[in-house]
């Protein structure tokens, strides 16, 4: 699939809080894009997706395309970028990535 050309990460919403989380390399969940596990090929993406199937922890995990042109993975789609940064209409509601 063409997908293997685009690095991706797994994102979901936390079951209890509902906020945006990312799968890390150990199969846990992080709120920091910097700690998100990045799949560089289709097999890894498939493996991460399988690892993310944790209905007791999160809701709706899915693969999101990222660019690796900076210190942290950068979501490619603007929807994903807004999920990462939080609501844009009030500075105090912005998400602070740890």
């Amino acid at each position: 699939m063409a997908r293997s050309f685009v690095p991706s990460i797994v994102s979901a919403n936390d079951l209890m809080i509902g906020d945006v989380v990312y799968l890390d390399a150990s199969g846990g969940w992080t709120r920091s894009l910097a700690e998100a596990a990045v799949a560089h090929d289709a097999e890894t993406a498939e493996r991460l997706a399988a690892l993310a199937d944790q209905p007791g922890a999160v809701v709706g995990p899915y693969l999101a395309d990222v660019a690796l042109d900076g210190p942290v993975p950068r979501p490619l789609h603007f929807r994903e970028a807004f999920r990462a940064s939080g609501p844009s209409h009030r500075p105090d509601l912005k998400r602070h990535s740890e």
């Binding site: 919403n13 809080i17 509902g18 906020d19 209905p55 789609h77 603007f78 807004f82 999920r83 609501p87």
Partner: protein, 560 residues
Amino acid sequence: MYRYDEFDAAYVRERVAQFRDQTQRRIDGRLTEDEYKPLRLQNGLYLQLHAYMLRVAIPYGTLSSRQMRALAEIAERWDRGYGHFTTRQNIQFNWTRLSDVGDILDHLAAVEMHAIQTSGNCIRNVTADHFAGAAADEIEDPRPTAELIRQWSTAHPEFAFLPRKFKVAVTGSPNDRAVTRSHDIGLRMLRDANGAPGYEVIVGGGMGRTPMVGKVMRGFLPRAELLPYLEAILRVYNLHGRRDNKYKARIKILVHETGEAEIREQVEAEFRSILANGGAAHLPGEAELARIAAYFAPPALPERSAVSDREEDARTFDPVFAAWAEVNTTPHGVAGYAIATVSLKAIGASPGDATASQMRALADMADRYSQGELRISHEQNVILPHVARDDLPALHAALLREELAEANSGLISDIIACPGLDYCALATARSIPIAQDISRRFSDGPRARAIGEFRIKISGCINACGHHHMGHVGILGLEKAGVESYQITLGGDHTENAAIGERVGPGLGAEEVGPAIERLVDAYLDLRASPEERFVDVCRRLGLAPFKAAIYREDKRDAA
């Protein structure tokens, strides 16, 4: 105000207990997400982009001060200190935690509120004119009808799984402030030639992907026959509405595809059959109607002179008050009183948002100046329905302290905007920042007042929660080639002269919208025949061509 009877109270408490248990079972793994999702949606709990959102019904937009205080407390204790009032007269809490939902619902139940039927393919919260029971132009208070429909439609077993969601709006005034022509069913209260009360029944209006203006199904329906007639409409829809394609599942599509005359015939046949088969049992008797109506009896307002010296003095000596009173008050049915619209559209603010302290202050103001009553408008503002004209200056001073005194009701900065991509999981683009940008461009009060009535409505996707089709200017946020793109429609109208706006051309980038609206307004000011001719009137008189030209012309100021 309607008060729960024992049955209502027990039912709501039971639902909270059930949902607590369902949520606990989701948390401990006994329910899967697929099993839990329909249950949480039936209780108004959505999972949005950044958190769970709880949508709480405000029946026909009426709130007591006690209920408003409870909403403030929920915002403060379990959310991030604010709530969002919606175009369906509901309130949404954007940051709900799963483990808190049971407590929040208990808190709501204590003030006779809930989140049932604020989602799903059922009959949703019934909306009504936000000036109900107060407006000078009202034939009759629409809320007893709305309450009757609420009771009939709540947990109605036959209509729990309709092809799609179903929305009903009621107005008791010829000046339609409830957008009845864009609802699945719209009811306009009328009197027949003998003065008997009844309804004009409008069916098949709607916004969304395929906007339609509703069709008059019955020119006059006697009041007592309302429920069997609604039942007939719902039955025809339930039977023939499309379930194969959710984009074609609303009743507007059924009416459109089947034809108005044919649907009318089917509805009338079903109606006759209901009445012939014991349906008279469905007819609420006069006593029951009177029982419900008694809850909405007009407050005993002390007699006052029609003209208030205190108000007149303040209008003369305080220009800030004068502007607010001019724009944000509406004639009341009782001499010496006014309806005050409290704008939740301060310049640069997020439309419809109120902080917990503002909600609490509004509750106090309602107790002090408005018989303890508030209303939420579909325009995302708060209404104090019964304010003595003598009290308007003091009310205005209190509003100023809470940053709630923007004098812009119905003006260009009184923008409807849905949550859009800042919150909503279905959104294709943001709405709120577009509203903020336009609002800041028209922050000059005298200029905004000179422009006059100007309704901008913004939706963050084709679902049209921001009513963009019926804005004088509608703005629809979409995704185009990986960026936000905004389609402009012009000439829409949400009133009794309902009209769907016409799309003017290709989408604009987010930063192009504000400048385009400024050019549009400049063109309007050049073209209007008099200050009384509103933008939408000029659209009707001249067509959209001059405004299209203004929107798409290269603007030198902004290109610089």
